[in-house]
Symmetry: D2
Subunit: 355 residues, 4 copies
């Protein structure tokens, strides 16, 4: 018996990745895919990869089938989720929200960075933060409430915060990081991170054979990273765009606390492996190895590499993910698995194309 | 109860794609992966996509475990299979050969194009040609022999012949093509088609932002295409290299026979759909649509587009495949499925990454 | 003393390539660059490559400075040139038109393919066709008229016709090609060929790692190729899109006339070198070599490779150009050089980036 | 009257870029290009971009023509220059060395990072460091000695140090940077940075659609950056590889000194423009803008973008260059221009391909 699932915003890049994953998931049955822009069109005509495989047709966001779903995934732009989440929860539908609307603990921070007032701040305290390897208790609590019949809300982490935090959070939690000084996050994303809407910037001829930083000091994932790491006001986050489709690499440089200046890369690897014991999607590489995004693209895996610069007193922690899978749709399905009491790996790809 | 499987030449691109598919296959269990160059190394260290997923280690080609397998897949260069196939068959092991060694019906043609004498021509008459949608009877015959306890041999079609023939063979078989005049095959391949060995030509800085034809009038897939299409001496095959990893597009221009000059694209599509009825991997697009390699990469699908130039009297038939999957490893697993009496789709990916 | 030059449509890809070339040209001085969409913006803000190099600002197409120019280059969409060319000529301005509006000899063919009536067909008979290596006399005639004080019109060849015709025209003119049967043109273009306007098709995530044919049997360069080659109704032209920015490769397969069945590749190369003697931009490679687009990108060169399939009776002629340079802006400047009595090479790049 | 020039190691990527630039240079005449691996081959056969343009042929490194040159450019691997530089200088030939052998002031540091003893440390004190915008006096001193008849030595900066230092040095020199804490350099290079030798890592199928860090904490450009910036032991340098050919982007995050905490991006831009006044290759962008590598590739330009994170107390300085031009060959020619008393811009490309 499969659970009925819906995807709102299914024609965007994160949305269609949800469709890919849910069509192959043994425990969820995809009942509704919505897209106001593509309503009435067949999934296979918008994404020919589904030709001969699925007969699903996009409907509008007000499709009444959504209210009959056990779970709805929201892959809509920020602020759009604010309008939908309270209704769905009120209808008894569990919501896995991929937007930024319920991620930040403090509605004032949300207003500062997103420029709009939060209209349902009371839901923030009840939601779980969707980054299972770092907020397991949060999700376990939700799974209990769901088992008891509640409709619950998961606010999934963003793509940059996921790679960055999986790389940096254990060091922070283990007390290795100095109390002061910048935490430098230089991350590189493939172009799918810029979304599906055509623009001058995402034109092949602009993006190909080019490297650039963007939104320097004002990317909205900054407060989210600071919240997860507990490093308020210290994160210098510079995202970069590179000419590939999927893949996100985050290189985090953390100043070591005086007491941690003797740390070696081997120590760090051992402690990280302890911290992630039992979490099959997070793979900490041996000291001296560095992750490649090509090794995780298409899968829900995150690979982490660690190095220590003893002279400068810094830990370099690098995380690689597929921004659309572990950084969006895959993580959302992983969260849904946990909330519905399934193995978190259920229905999720473990291996990238090896080449 | 899974069948024991081995892959010889498992560290090459087709080989590792076999490993990817077989690790996920519910009815085959991968027992041995061999690579003389990488023997002793872990699969995950050569292909980090498998880190945390598989503990397999490469062995040498003389691994005795191979003789204990139910099926061995050979992903070795041409002529290397000549040395191995007879032994494996003699040991009672069914062989699915991805090399060119047993593809050509006539050993003299093999000698002319490959420059070596064929040492086991008697096996050619017994083998099936591994292109299931066009040689179904051949494989059905082998499945019967296998069910009766025989070790059998499949010689899988090459990548260019697969895309080209799936696009062009129905037109030939339906008598639409003139008896004379060149059959023009202009095909484009991603760089995985050139294999894993680093060279000046496959260096990123040579292949990126470049288009070129290669092996003009002397590519070894020419006689194979002519054999499948029954167009001896008429195929002008020009392969091209383009800057992508996986994907192969073959555009075939066929002169129409006088009796077929009234053919429309809509007719052609309808007849092709009949010809491929029940073959779920081949998807004939509506008239006016053209296939994209990105719509099939990672899957075992082949998409076909058809157009007619009435004035010039030509049918344009275009086939798109993933050269490593439907053009190599996926087709090999599909053949193995059939020989072992399984559904041909078993364990094979149906859908590409949609983006 | 430099000639005053203007570019209409200077913000598009061909337009900005004209700007690049004219800024470096010793005999033309760029006085006006127009773009209705970007009027008022600095060149350097739309194309940051010019930051610190040029202070030019885009004006609108009705910039009165155009009438004061010695030559105006039109890089506008087809039909837009119809409205502008007669006025400019009447003002005494020589026009080099990169659009398709004055290319076709027969206005009825123009109407059939472009869907609009031609409003100044009388200018077609007077214009020269801008493909200097094949229409030298045409341009020489114009240079004489220009020297005598006339404002004249050049209709530059399109990108696909340029590469295709430079590869195929000598064979046609030398009588090597059979009188019947399709002339097959399978060409591949980089994404700049699709223009600057962002669209789903030119989005990096659609174009990257993808190959596709498009506009099969209905690309508007078909009648232009047929006109140049004198092969009316015989050209089967299938353009393809590949993931690179600049570069165009055209592979032409020509059926050999009975009297030419003994032709060798070496013969063909020798005859082509004769045919192109003294034309420094066309470089015919040795038999056995094939051109690479990377070897010409950024320059005005065209490389040609030739092969013969004796058994099938076909000549394979392959041309490689930079679609924005020799296929558009470079060729336009080359034509202007000739019309103004300069060496055709003046101000034009001879060498691609070698890597 | 042109100066006679030679290039040792002319078949590598930096070497052939030198060839491209010197062939177009009005004041240098290229007399000898050497490559032990490709000796005897024509330049045009190794790099077909030169077909029809140059008849130069590679000779071996011991070509006696080198001793007759006015200047020789060395594009050889580190340690190989040690063997050649003293001889050439003794023959009266001025040397512009692109290798790392004479860059580091302290031979002990050289030995620590390169693993070999320095055999001519006395030459280090006499050489100029080849990064003209930061070491103008050094090069002016050499120009004087050269004008007086001396053969002199320039040790050109590496690619990462060039982009990094042009972005960060003014901030250091102006006293904006805190005395303690890591200086974080996260830089991204195209694949030409890895050199011409084919390897698993530079195979198109490994590098395409992939991001990775490499040589973390042990890249040999680290001590060079520390030397230029005067930040010994403080630089945490993490180079990354991305799928493009040419282009290098360095993002430097510098902790602000207490007295500089009020710095704005606008202030920083104004001061940088002062610092680089009159240096036409360095272009400091307006606050809020970020450099793109595509805007400089093919030219000798460096674009710099600046941002301030007031809360975290950090300056973000980003430099974009073409690693083969401003990061190697172009800078070498710029240095030679200065030493020979020419305008530093002579013969150097100012503008990238705009698209």
């Amino acid at each position: 018996m499969a659970y009925a699932a819906g995807v709102v915003g299914a024609a965007g890049y994160a949305g269609v990745e949800l469709v890919r994953l849910l069509l192959a998931h043994p425990d969820f049955e995809l009942r509704a895919i919505t897209s106001n822009a593509d309503a009435g069109q067949a999934l296979a005509s918008v994404y020919p990869a589904f030709a001969g495989v699925s007969d699903l047709v996009f409907t509008t966001h007000d499709d009444p089938a959504l209210a009959g779903c056990d779970v709805v995934f929201l892959a809509v732009p920020h602020t759009a989720a604010l309008a939908v989440v309270p209704q769905l929860l009120a209808s008894g539908v569990t919501v896995v929200d991929l937007s930024a609307d319920y991620r930040l603990d403090d509605p004032a921070v949300y207003e500062r960075w997103y420029g709009v007032a939060h209209t349902s701040p009371e839901l923030i305290t009840e939601r779980a933060f969707g980054l299972p390897e770092l907020f397991a208790d949060d999700l376990a609590r939700l799974a209990e409430r769901h088992a008891a019949g509640d409709a619950v809300l998961v606010a999934c982490a963003g793509c940059f915060p996921t790679a960055t935090s999986l790389a940096a959070a254990p060091a922070m939690r283990l007390g290795w990081v100095a109390d002061e000084g910048p935490v430098v996050v230089d991350a590189i994303s493939g172009v799918t991170g810029a979304g599906k809407t055509p623009s001058a910037r995402t034109h092949f001829c602009s993006a190909d054979e080019n490297l650039e930083a963007y939104n320097v000091c004002r990317h909205r994932h900054t407060p989210e990273i600071e919240q997860i790491l507990g490093a308020s006001g210290r994160v210098v986050f510079t995202p970069h765009l590179a000419p590939l489709r999927r893949g996100l690499l985050s290189t985090v440089t953390l100043p070591l606390a005086p007491g941690a200046r003797g740390l070696t890369a081997e120590d760090a690897v051992a402690c990280y492996r302890d911290a992630y014991a039992g979490r099959s999607f997070v793979r900490v590489l041996d000291a001296g190895q560095t992750p490649k995004t090509a090794s995780v693209v298409g899968s829900n895996a995150c690979q982490i590499g660690l190095a220590v610069n003893a002279e400068a007193g810094a830990l370099i922690a690098i995380g690689a993910i597929d921004n659309l899978c572990k950084g969006a749709a895959g993580q959302a399905v992983q969260c849904a698995n946990i909330v519905f009491g399934l193995d978190e790996r259920r229905g999720l790809p473990q291996v990238a194309l090896p080449i």
